[in-house]
């Protein structure tokens, strides 16, 4: 928040011509814009197998054989995976990490930007590297890499080798969870969806114990009850583990091994605890093919037929937004009321901390528009990224590209 205060909220318009980059380089890849909108960057090709990162039109001296996964950082800089002499590392604001690997992918950055990590492969073995340090132990196989808000890393790793197509071997359970590189004692058939609590001290995951029995593991302790299926568990604000489980043919919400909500649903996933209180929201299908949102086991009065892709709370918990698709078109619903966006695409909404304002970028017929509280307030961009409200909520920062020019605009609302 303090950071946001220091951003420039007074200049109406700043422009950076990006269209001309195309003439300077062989080709320009995806544009990436920093949270404060001051920096725009892209991977550019300068020669055969020679790439650089162009930030606001400037390129550094170092070129790499390959660059990918360029991402903006909370501090408004950029990070990317780079390859030189067939070895890979991460560069953060132009600085290379000291360890190099055979391959790296899946970049994770904590929301405060203090920690960064990725998955690596070195000589056919796998691990994660966090803040420049690779795990001490590596594994033959790895999936589901996760980084907590505090920089704790975890992944599903294979701890028992398996011969090709050995289904009886698989039955024994070959996988475990590695936290900062060290594994749990238990092994399972499958582990999915590792989830940390806020402090990054406890973790939970969905597991499969045999062909049919699914349950939840928390810090290497398995729930007693077994289910027909589980989705991603989430820690509540008070540190309890909430999980969607399929029990007697219905999806239900359980907490710490016990039923939490009473109702059973045709589908239930994406548990979203309110940041401000004890409310819990989930995406549900009350009946087959009819999607809605349930808050504390009460279903919204609205349904949509295609999909709800995400639900988000405002910081104070007063506003709950669902990103949904109905009859093939994208829309938002805010506190049970659908908007009328009829968009081809809807991007991640931005909600003011007090929950009064909801802003979202939509795409219709190839053009991007900014919608605030169901009204288009800026439009016809060729590209636009998620906007930001000013700390006093009187202004909004728009970051978009129009006719080859990147425009950072601040407008009052």
């Amino acid at each position: 928040m303090e950071k946001k205060q220091s951003w420039d909220w007074n200049t109406d318009l700043k422009e950076i011509p990006v269209g001309e980059w195309k003439a300077r380089f062989n080709w320009v890849e995806e544009l990436n814009i920093s949270p404060d909108g001051e920096n725009i960057a892209s991977v550019v090709n300068v020669d055969e197998a020679a790439f650089k990162i162009c930030v606001n039109g400037h390129v550094g001296d170092t070129e790499y054989e390959k660059i990918w996964s360029l991402k903006s950082l909370p501090d408004n800089g950029f990070a990317a995976f780079v390859c030189a002499d067939e070895e890979w590392t991460l560069i953060v604001n132009g600085q290379e990490w000291s360890s190099w690997f055979d391959f790296i992918w899946d970049l994770h950055i904590t929301p405060d930007g203090k920690h960064m990590g990725f998955a690596f492969q070195k000589e056919g073995e796998y691990g994660m590297a966090i803040d420049g340090l690779p795990w001490n132990r590596v594994y033959s196989n790895m999936a589901g890499m996760t980084l907590s808000n505090t920089g704790t890393s975890a992944a599903v790793v294979q701890v028992v080798p398996m011969k090709a197509a050995d289904v009886d071997g698989f039955k024994q359970g070959l996988f475990s969870v590695a936290v900062n590189g060290n594994t749990f004692h238990n092994t399972f058939l499958n582990i999915w969806d590792i989830s940390f609590d806020r402090a990054g001290q406890n973790l939970a995951a969905g597991i499969r114990l045999d062909r049919e029995a699914y349950t939840i593991v928390k810090n290497d302790v398995i729930w007693d009850r077994k289910f027909q299926g589980v989705w991603k568990p989430i820690f509540s604000n008070s540190g309890n583990v909430l999980a969607p489980v399929r029990d007697a043919g219905k999806w239900k919400l359980f907490m710490d091994n016990e039923p939490f909500w009473k109702k059973g649903y045709d589908q239930l996933w994406k548990i979203t605890p309110s940041p401000a209180n004890n409310d819990v929201a989930t995406i549900v299908a009350n009946h087959f093919g009819k999607w809605s949102v349930a808050v504390n086991d009460k279903v919204w009065k609205m349904t949509c037929d295609t999909m709800i892709s995400d639900i988000l709370y405002s910081d104070n918990g007063s506003c709950l937004v669902a990103v949904l698709k109905d009859k093939g078109l994208w829309n938002l619903a805010v506190n049970q009321t659908p908007w009328n966006l009829s968009a081809d695409k809807v991007f991640t909404p931005c909600i003011s901390p007090d929950g009064y304002l909801v802003a979202v970028v939509v795409e219709k017929k190839g053009k991007f528009h900014l919608v605030v509280n169901n009204k288009i307030i800026a439009g016809n961009y060729d590209l636009m990224t998620t906007p930001v409200f000013s700390p006093d909520q009187s202004k909004i920062l728009i970051k978009g590209v129009e006719k080859g020019v990147y425009k950072r605009r601040v407008i009052s609302i």
Partner: protein, 446 residues
Amino acid sequence: MSGNETISIEKSTDDAVENGLSRLTPQRVSHVINQVLHQETGARFKAYVDTCMRCGLCSDACSYFLSNDRDPSFSPAAKVKQTIWEMLAKKGKVSKDFLRRAVHIAHLECNVCRRCSMYCPFGIDIAYMMLLVRRICHKLEITPQYIQDTVNSHSVTMNQMWVKEDEWIDTLQWQEEDGREEFEDLRIPLDKQGVDIMYSVIAPEPKFQAGLIYQAAVIMHAAGMNWTMPASPGWDNSNMAMFTGDNEISGRIARTFFESAARLNVKRIVMGECGHAFRSTYDVGNRALSWAMPPFEVVHAIEFYHELLTAGRISIKKKFTKRVTLHDPCNVSRGRGLHNMARKIVNMTCSNFTEMTPNKEHNLCCGAGGGVVNCGPPYKKERMVNNRVKAEQLAATGAEVLIAPCHNCHSGLEDIIHHYKLNMEVKFLGDILFETMEKKIYRPEE
């Protein structure tokens, strides 16, 4: 052709099936059977069982029946008789020998091609019932080894072939580099948000046929599409769990797939030439999750190529001149009615096209795509015998090139061609398009 093999063929054994059987107790067997047949089904199943008049009209639909010289035990209804009817009559108290045979019937002698429901006057869906038997086998852990291994792979990696995450990305980057020989600025955009198309393939492509990704990239680039491929799990559209009756893993695969598309904010999903993957994403996997229809438009390559050609985004430089014939994959013809579009593409790209008969919805099955080929090498010989009619049908066309817009059909048909010594080359529609297209970038104003 060697029809007499039918009699001499020995039914192969499979360690996974045998070990599984040895672990079973009678209680578990009857419990699982009754649970699946009584709790997991409803009026539809009962109606199928009660309505069947044992008339045998479905027999002529089944390529297994036809290839085995009309051996009655291969008739679709006979497969139900030898599995479900008996399970019901005995209230689930069936022997291990019975189960061994049931595994075989449901996984190797029925390709769940759904042709028989077009031949039964009541439209009874025998494939559905064979999938119920497969589900029972899944729960009893007596699914054949190789297909089970693919499901295990799905459950761990969300792809069918144990392709590791780095291998996937590395393959795409390497195909991108190769593709630059065609177009120097060609890209395979990874994880690019907000594009129009997420392009997805099945795991055998990066594993064994990376060239197909290269071709697809060239086609996308030339057509000027705004597209991406996911850099994390969810890129594989195949789903073998759907064919072993592991509906839970099947649902998880489909969810991961569609959530990739949601994460990338794409408008629609285009997929390579695979039939079973289309069935999973368009028809089956979504239903397991309460998505009545797929949450993103799923466009099969046939539809996509048709769109590119008719919109003029791809133009044909010189038609393919060898004599070609076209195999209609069950899962996109009977499964989506794309057979007419496929013909249009063939006519637009080839100058010498011979139809095989029967065709379109009535196509004879390749004997592979319903999970049969995935049961692996132990059953290959048998698969060839069970597919004789397809070989005869192919031979009758006299074509040099067989176009099959489906991966599983490809594998099945290649085996058939080899076994029956038919002098034919199997190609994808994409291969033909790649060979015949003008390699220039589409500009709307031109």
